[in-house]
Amino acid sequence: MIYLDNSATTKPLPEVLESFMKSAESFYANPSSVHQLGSDAERLLTKSRTLVADLMELEASEVLFTSGGTEANNLAIKGIALKHQNRGKHLITTTIEHPSVLEAFHSLESLGFEVTYVNVDEAGHVDPDEIDKAIRKDTILVSVMSVNNEIGTVQPIEEIGRLTNKYPKLFFHVDHVQGLGKVPIHIKDWSIDLVSISGHKIHGLKGTGALFVRKNVSLFPLLHGGRQEQEKRAGTENLPGIVALAKAIRLIKQKEKDHLQELKALQGDLKQQLRQIDGLVINSPENGAPHIVNISLPGFKPEVLIHKLAENEIYISTKSACSSKQSDVSAVLEACKLEAERSTSSLRISLSYQNTKAEIDQFVQALKSAVVHVTHQ
């Protein structure tokens, strides 16, 4: 089997699964219980939080565990909007955000907020100047993803942070779900207020994630109840999930440190081989994230190719899994203003640190024969 759909989800690492199982088995007590077992669970929770904070160059109090990227994005966006609406009701994001961001903004529009969706260029880049132009006196939030999940565009987060930092009542949120372990982020230095991440994109488990909330940033909680997570996210902590997340972050950071160049080389090789296929266009930008290659094969129905590849146990996807139950057209590619032929025929190959050169070779061969096969039908 060759798995090349790592932007949809990644395969959990055995070490991560082991941590999950062991902590679920031994530390099942509620971390809020006052007895010894609860105390042990709480210590493990604290240790996990401190580890995550260290890895992200944050303080432990700035780490808030969630059920995943979608919740983190919703909590960041709705949490800021609802808490600070008396300062203004204008919000800014881009046209190519993940559905969990876009839909959160749509929901706020229905509550009377106004949202500016800043356009991107053909390669998916947002121009910081365009964001600057969109900022008004009543703007309270700018939300931009670090890495686009469909085409891998890396956004100029540092510049945008420098920009938004000039406006004291403006918060800056970064959806870093695709970026973690692949592109750098310096939350403090880049003046970012909120950052979302997800466990299952980094060989952790589904249902785990975190929102990093800088000191002095207050949020309206989506979940009320107990006093967990600094009263910003009530609910008994998913301790085994949190332990697994901490471990997954530690391991992906290690990979990033030791093997990023290899991943880049692998992607370069993949692109090189793909360019030799007639009619194939690469939609991903030249300096994009090292793990995503988005291509179009105009004239081909992507779903057909995917099924053909799956017959050989090779797995890739069309656009993002989160929107693939909709029609064939990619909203992201449409927003990049690519012609319909391209935006309806796109495929996404997404790599992980586990993929090998041999797999890439095999995949390209299989894609070539799939194209031939489909053409001749």
Binding site: S19, K22, V34, S39, R43, L44, K47, S48, L51, K247
Partner: protein
């Protein structure tokens, strides 16, 4: 290009005259211990300064650790390059880029060996011009720059440093003896410990534990606080004193209004005996005048009667808000505010005497013999060593 060393400038140690060498050696050995987790890092001592040689280690985490070591005034990252204009330019640009928040800068060149063909003034212009044309949003300000790029030409090489990072100040821990810190779980006592360490004092800690009235979590909290303190010096030994019997006995046999005063006197007696046993010459508390009933002038006078050791009270004249500020800065605040009962919050009298007298305290205490209980408490004490500078191996490591 990469920073290859960290330059360390001393603080108060300068004025120590003949004793300076002793202070320097202590600082060096404290730094070496602190940086143990970075195997290729070396610490070298040269005349007025100390250098941390990075040998390829990521500079920023090393800097962070160095900033926690007392006895250092300021620190800077530095790069050593060949004495070529091009290399100096590159190094200067690299150094300024490391301070992204800087808006203004200036270049100060010094030529110890005068054989470099470009004069200092000219070199300032050349390097300044190069930095200006290769950065955005940074301007020159020769009077009050955010960053002073220092270029030093000596010993056949050029040394470039940029931003000054603040050191922790104070004196190297271990140059002023040892003190026994009465560590509760509150906000104040860890701050007292920190400030005392800053004056070069090594710490041991004593904590009064009253199970089942106080929980394992309360104890763990105190150990965590001691662990945080150990980051600023050497390991901190925590003596856990079983205090339940004494507290119950005070509650039973002493008048309610004096129970708090007498409890504190018992703590002092135990602390003094323990200090004697460990060869420690002073006690250290987080008392701050007027904060609570035990910290009025009368209370302190009455409580102090039972010990002859000097009691260091670095917080005596500080406001609560000032104390909180320090505790946030040193990372103990978030631990201190965890809401567990400690031995001072159980059996609290409804109306503790704010103006107790020595005579009355002595009178009440004379009715009951506590000496046996005190001896027992000390005998049954347990020692836990906290050292955050060592990568502690604990039961959770394999999970994370």
């Amino acid at each position: 290009m990469e920073f290859d060393h960290i330059l360390i400038r001393y603080g108060e140690m300068f004025i120590k005259g003949k004793n300076r060498r002793k202070f320097e050696s202590k600082l060096q050995s404290n730094l070496i211990k602190k940086l143990k987790e970075f195997p290729s890092v070396r610490v070298s001592k040269k005349r007025e300064r100390m250098y941390v040689l990075l040998n390829g280690t990521d500079p920023h985490p090393v800097m962070k650790k160095c900033q926690q070591v007392f006895g250092i005034h300021t620190l800077s990252f530095a790069i050593k390059v060949n004495k070529s204009e091009e290399e100096i330019k590159q190094a200067a640009l690299y150094a300024i880029n490391d301070a992204p928040e800087a808006r203004t800068f200036k270049v100060s060149s010094k030529r110890a060996d005068k054989d470099f063909p470009i004069g200092s003034q000219d070199l300032n212009h050349i390097i300044g011009g190069y930095v200006l044309s290769n950065t955005e949003g940074i301007t020159v300000d020769v009077h009050n720059p955010d960053v002073e790029l220092k270029v030093e030409l000596r010993n056949g090489a050029a040394y470039i440093t940029a931003k000054d990072y603040p050191g922790a100040g104070g004196l190297p821990v271990g140059t002023s003896g040892k003190s026994l810190l009465l560590l509760s779980g509150g906000i104040d006592s860890p701050v007292a410990g920190f400030l005392t360490m800053k004056r070069g004092v090594e710490l041991e800690a004593i904590h009064f534990h009253s199970p089942p009235y106080t929980s394992e979590r309360a104890k763990q909290k105190v150990l965590d606080l001691a662990g945080e303190l150990s980051k600023y010096g050497t390991k901190v030994k925590v003596h856990i004193i079983p205090f339940t019997n004494i507290q119950q006995k005070i509650h039973r046999e002493m008048p309610e209004g004096y129970s708090m005063t007498i409890m504190r006197r018992m703590m002092m007696r135990i602390s003094e005996q323990l200090a004697d046993r460990e060869g420690i010459l002073s006690l250290n508390t987080g008392e701050s005048l007027g904060q609570v009933a035990s910290q009025t002038m009368e209370s302190m006078n009455t409580i102090n009667e039972v010990t002859n050791l000097p009691i260091l009270r670095p917080l005596a004249a500080m406001d609560k808000l000032e104390i909180i500020e320090v505790s946030r800065k040193i990372g103990t605040y978030n631990i201190s505010v965890l809401p567990y009962e400690d031995c001072c919050t159980i059996f609290v009298p409804k109306a503790p005497k704010t103006k107790p007298t020595r005579e009355k305290a002595n009178f009440y205490e004379s009715k009951v013999d506590f000496s046996q209980d005190i001896a027992e408490a000390i005998n049954q004490s347990v020692v836990v060593e906290m050292d955050r500078n060592q990568t502690e191996k604990d039961e959770f490591d394999e999970l994370l």
